[in-house]
Amino acid sequence: MKNVAELIKIKEETLKNMKSYKYNIRVCGGTGCTSSGSMKIIDELEAQLEKAGIRDEVNIVQTGCFGLCALGPIMIVYPDGYFYSRLEPEHIEEIVKEHLVGGKPVLKYLYAETVNDGEISAYTDTVFYRHQHRSALRNCGVISPASIEQYIAMDGYMALAKVLDEMTPNEVISTLEKSGLRGRGGGGFPTARKWVFTKNAKGDKKYVCCNADEGDPGAFMDRSVLEGDPHSVIEAMLIAGYTVGADEGYIYVRAEYPIAVEHLTTAIKQAREYGLLGKNILNSGFDFDLDLRLGAGAFVCGEETALMRSIEGKRGEPIPRPPFPAIKGLMGKPTLENNVETFANIPQIILNGADWFSSMGTEDSKGTKVFALGGKINHTGLIEVPMGTTLRQVIEEIGGGIPNGKKFKAAQTGGPSGGCIPASLIDTKIDYKSLTDIGSMMGSGGLIVMDEDTCMVDMAKFFLEFTIAESCGKCTPCRIGTKRLYEILEKITSGRGEIEDLDRLEELASHIKEISLCGLGQTAPNPVLSTLRYFRDEYEAHILEKRCPAGVCKALLSYEIDADKCRGCTLCARKCPVGAISGEVKKPHTIDKSKCIKCGACMEGCKFGAISKK
């Protein structure tokens, strides 16, 4: 590959080839759909197409994530864009026969929202998709991540060619600055400034690092980008290398993401074969190569200095800043480190211009943000919305609301570093400033929805348990302070809390925030502080009334059988794992509270609603 003309030629050939098929079928091969069996769908599809004798009329593309993981496995049939959801291998024969041979889509397997009175509407008009704007995810669910040609067909590597042909490093930086792009990993630091610092740092050798150590539980944005569109990150890292003067890069990715690792490995190999990584790229005299490093399951390695120690093959412990990595980073050399989603936006910004990007979003937060929607919400999955979209739109419209008619209680953003946003603030705009103002944070994009069955004290305890396990142990406030916070919460949830404990929590939390070494410790108390701020009444109920309003904290619960409703069917006695329930057949049963382990199996099993918890 020597120049733009060759890129354009590949683009045209690939598009022409796609058009030559009667049908192009995209099947999601992301982690969500793979876990629900999409590989079996592809196998069955190939077998049935073969059987029907139309294998060569149909092109099967295994793509990255479509976003609507709750409905996986998903398959979209083009040119019409018919959206099949929750497929089983047994459905495929009928779809091949009726739709691909007969030309009539099988309505009963299509996503219900796209079918109204026998008419099929575009899936892009459904509530889940119509509010979204895909920039970082533009190719996810569209191209095969294993094909560099398909990436090129979507104008892939054109941004790199433009930068190498027409732009000076300063022009790249000024474009980024005008775009207003800020780091998508959580911190929100202006990307252009990081690039300037690294560019201006003196050094014979510089590095570019991609932080793909997405350790925040409940977040899978970066994983989806890497699985679905690995070349966009590679292209952006090349642009970064040219701009800051680096010739070597590393992508540090979680080992828990095997599909992402596989796709990245393939993508790097292809880019090398095409001469897009290596020496004298596109005949410009610019050299750059990159390599993967796998994380090994340490949340703290998402912190940039810890990540660099880990790439060096050491324990991933953070070090004090300054010096910042831009001055002294990997192997002691100036290093630019950005998150996956930040990188994924950059080729688009170069191609479409800074104004295109800054036209989306709010005053201080430009562009779009990807979120992983999880928890008690109907449309669990991956979404990308313009900054400034309200939480209400995300939860009630795109997310499809709360299942089982339950009430929305809180949304958690920012993972173990973030906070809980109560229902009263559901009209908050999602941007860096608004979220910080209400005591939460943008974070990397995990958005967990909770309903009335979630105990907020238990949630705070859950996050601290995580932080304790993941604290590297280097600094005292984080190592010991978080443990003490946890112990106070444990005391409260087990019914031994005193009202003074709330002051103790607040005091200790503020110390930990102030004096911890790195971001992990500095933000670890946030879940406690934000739940105390918005759900103090729940803490008080645990302490003063020895009652858990959500019915979660076991020590404060007791199960009882209503003798009037009990029919003596004996089901509960059989379900009870510890033999705590006794009674004669057809007579009301009773629970021996000294034996009961409060697992709730009896209540779930009872067909007469005779068992209640208090």
């Binding site: 090994a296 060096e312 992983a372 928890g375 909770m450 859950f462 590297c472």
Partner: protein, 166 residues
């Protein structure tokens, strides 16, 4: 560590050859220790002291450094896993959807704790933090197989299924 740690090391010649090949592949790169240890974890399924010693001498680094890293990262295990390694996701999305209860049920059914292994070496149990299948929460994995949208009752069925296998 777990109740499996009493199992004597039974490395084979082939495993050793694979490890030596990995050491050879990475030894001249900067930051070689982590990739070599990850390879060793794959080859042996865990990192007993015998394997750590081979890595230390192969890369010419102190054994303390190898041990320091193997105890820092969650991916490295000092004790072997069961034939069927069960991992329950306790990430936020799964936790909110009740994976804590699934985990408790498994502990009761298997009679082992987090990080433990049944005496016959068939099942091991651990909790993990988010495998990214949040759309299917709550989830657990048995070796590479993912089970999603679980209820407590599914736990017994899954265990029965693997008990019936060899």
């Amino acid at each position: 560590m777990s109740n499996c740690s009493c199992i004597p090391f039974k490395g084979t010649k082939e495993q050793q050859k694979k490890l030596e090949a990995a050491i050879e592949k990475y030894k001249d790169q900067s930051g070689a220790l982590m990739p070599v240890m990850q390879a060793a974890q794959d080859i042996y399924g865990y990192l007993p002291i015998e394997v750590q010693k081979m890595i230390a001498s192969g890369l010419n680094v102190p054994l303390e450094q190898v041990y320091g890293i193997s105890t820092f990262y969650a991916q490295f295990s000092l004790s072997p896993k069961g034939k069927y390694a069960i991992s329950v996701c306790l990430g936020t999305a799964c936790y909110v959807k009740g994976s804590g209860k699934i985990f408790e049920r498994l502990k009761t059914v298997l009679g082992i704790d987090d990080g433990g292994c049944t005496p016959d070496g068939k099942f091991s149990l651990e909790s993990c933090r988010c495998i990214g299948a949040c759309g299917l929460a709550p989830v657990l994995t048995v070796n590479e197989e993912v089970y999603g949208r679980l209820t407590e009752d599914d736990v017994d069925k899954i265990i029965e299924k693997y008990k019936a296998l060899d």
